[in-house]
Amino acid sequence: MASMNFIRSHKFTDRLSQGGRLILLLILAIPFIFPLIWLASTALKSPTEIYISPPIWIPQPLRWRNFIDAWNVAPFGKFLVNTMITTFIPMMGEVFISAMVAYSFARVKWPGRDKIFSLCLATMILPGIVTFIPTFVMFARIGWINTFLPLVVPSLFGSAFYIFLFKQFMMNLPMGLEEAARIDGASTFQIFTKIILPLLKPALATVAIFSFLARWQDFFGPMIYLQKAELKTLMLGLSSFESMMSGAGGSAIGGGFVSSNLHLLMAMTFLMNLPCIFVFVIFQKYFIRDMVMSGFKL
């Protein structure tokens, strides 16, 4: 009897703590979710609805044309094309070159390999700016400013973090996978493309997603290298849209000013988030499961 009671009360407190847990999770979720709802709401408002307090959460009517108007504020179509170039070419390079290099580090034996891999790992704590300034000077000298080359070419040499992720993943593939092919006379590169690459699909997807997001969001690199208006990326377009409304030295929308274009700025901000949200929703498992399982075997 006593033990029965014990079990019952244990279950009861468990359920209670489960409820408490959910309530806590709900409260903590407020700052994560409300700004995004606020963004969507502002994006659909008319200019007059924005500066009303208490705030209107569901605008009447929903102004869907804000998105079209915002898109026409600047040549965002052109910016989109530019962003595609600076996103997808580096992404392909980073994914495949990093996978190949990682294969060499993970499963091919050559003298000095582990030392070179340690060097590769060590570069990850190097703050980017240390190499960014001299690289900028170098690219300026060879006339690469106002071209996409500085944003594209370095990625074709692989990236330390992605090499690390791929290597972790490949270490978990069974040993001796390559032996038969090697005895049949296949070259290491053939083994990589024919045997390893097909097994790598989850890791390829994970790295492709990370690379896509990083490139899509990149601000500093494009800002430095793409100074002509017609070369701008979407992120540069969004930031100049904002500073157009704010003037120099910080953000006016964060200050006390009233702006008649805020609904359009928020509509554009919402559009910029949209591809990332899509990628997140569709490939969710790669963010959470695979990043943890393959990347961070601690």
Binding site: L22, S104, P134, M272
Partner: protein, 317 residues
């Protein structure tokens, strides 16, 4: 095929035990060359975009250089200027250190709390995990624009929210006492990856250990203090390193939301480097600043590694 040709050149008796080795070493040599070729892109990239620029940057740091004319060697002049003359240098260091000192521990605690709450099989857990993670994959530029609006003192979401519970919110980004706090608050949106790493760490805590401790009469505090924290210390260590590294390199948020102001209260170290390099075109001075940042980050990592021996538990497996 090559193996067969070699076979004819060998004296039978000696050859038999040597055969696999001879064959293997040939394959091995082939493998080694292929391996090096496959790693070559990264090695070339390392020389072109990391080692080369670092050496060049180290030299530049010892010069005065406006990019257009040729660099003038001035020895440690840039560093002397930094430490003795340049008031923005100390201000930017102060801002960056303050930010890191608050933001990094905040992220450790918050990711620990969130991960503990999410480490359960309760319903809706996946929904919450996605909710907390989602903002961290959104573009920093977009988040900075959105949060500028959230921080609007009169019509922004934050002060409206504070008003409903009877708090008169500050001017946030336009108040020099609150602007840095605002950026720290916004940075909470990026807790997602830390939380996931922490969750992975928590899920590795052996359940038997917890059960055994419970049988021995351990309460929640004991479990946390003597089991959960020690068992996740290697993950905590990793999160601290990540956060120090990224906090020190904060740029975009401050650049877009405050431009370093008001009164340099959010003038991050990266803003100082940016202004020196791309506004004033003092490439020599900017390189020197970049090297200072490098040394600071490296020393932090080094100290942290040293200290970690005292408190990080690792099961050598």
């Amino acid at each position: 095929m090559t193996v067969q040709i070699d076979q004819h050149n060998q004296v039978g008796e000696l050859y038999i035990p040597a055969k696999p080795w001879f064959g293997m070493s040939r394959l091995r040599r082939r493998e080694a060359i292929d391996g090096m070729l496959m790693a070559l892109p990264w090695i070339v990239g390392f020389i072109l975009f990391i080692a080369g620029p670092m050496l060049f940057g180290a030299y530049t740091a010892l010069t005065e250089w406006d990019i257009i004319s040729s660099p003038v060697f001035i020895g440690f002049g840039n560093f002397r200027q930094m430490f003795t003359i340049d008031p923005r240098f100390w201000q930017s260091l102060k801002v960056t250190f303050t930010y890191t000192a608050i933001s990094a521990p905040l992220h450790v605690v918050l990711s620990f709390v969130l991960a503990s709450l999410l480490n359960s099989k309760a319903p809706f857990i996946n929904f919450f995990r996605s909710t907390y993670y989602l903002p961290s994959i959104l573009p920093v530029v977009a988040t900075a624009v959105l949060w500028s609006w959230v921080f609007n003192p009169n019509f922004g979401l934050l002060n409206l929210g504070l008003a409903t519970i009877g708090i008169d919110g500050p001017m946030w980004l336009s108040d020099k006492n609150w602007a840095l706090a605002a950026i720290i608050i916004m940075n909470i949106m990026y807790v997602g990856p830390n939380m996931i790493i922490m969750l992975a760490g928590l899920q590795r805590v052996p359940i038997e250990l917890v059960e055994a401790a419970k049988l021995d009469g351990a309460n929640r505090w004991h479990l946390l203090r003597y089991i959960t924290i020690p068992m996740t210390s290697s993950v905590i260590f990793l999160i601290v390193i990540f956060n120090i590294n990224s906090s020190f390199q904060t740029f975009t948020q401050a650049f877009l939301m405050t431009g370093g102001g008001p009164q340099y209260s959010t003038y991050f170290f990266m803003l100082h480097i940016y202004n020196q390099a791309w506004v004033s075109f003092n490439m020599g001075y900017a390189s020197a600043l970049a090297w200072v940042m490098f040394v600071i980050i490296i020393s932090f990592v080094f100290i942290h590694f040293r200290l970690s021996r005292l408190w990080v538990y690792s099961d050598v497996d």
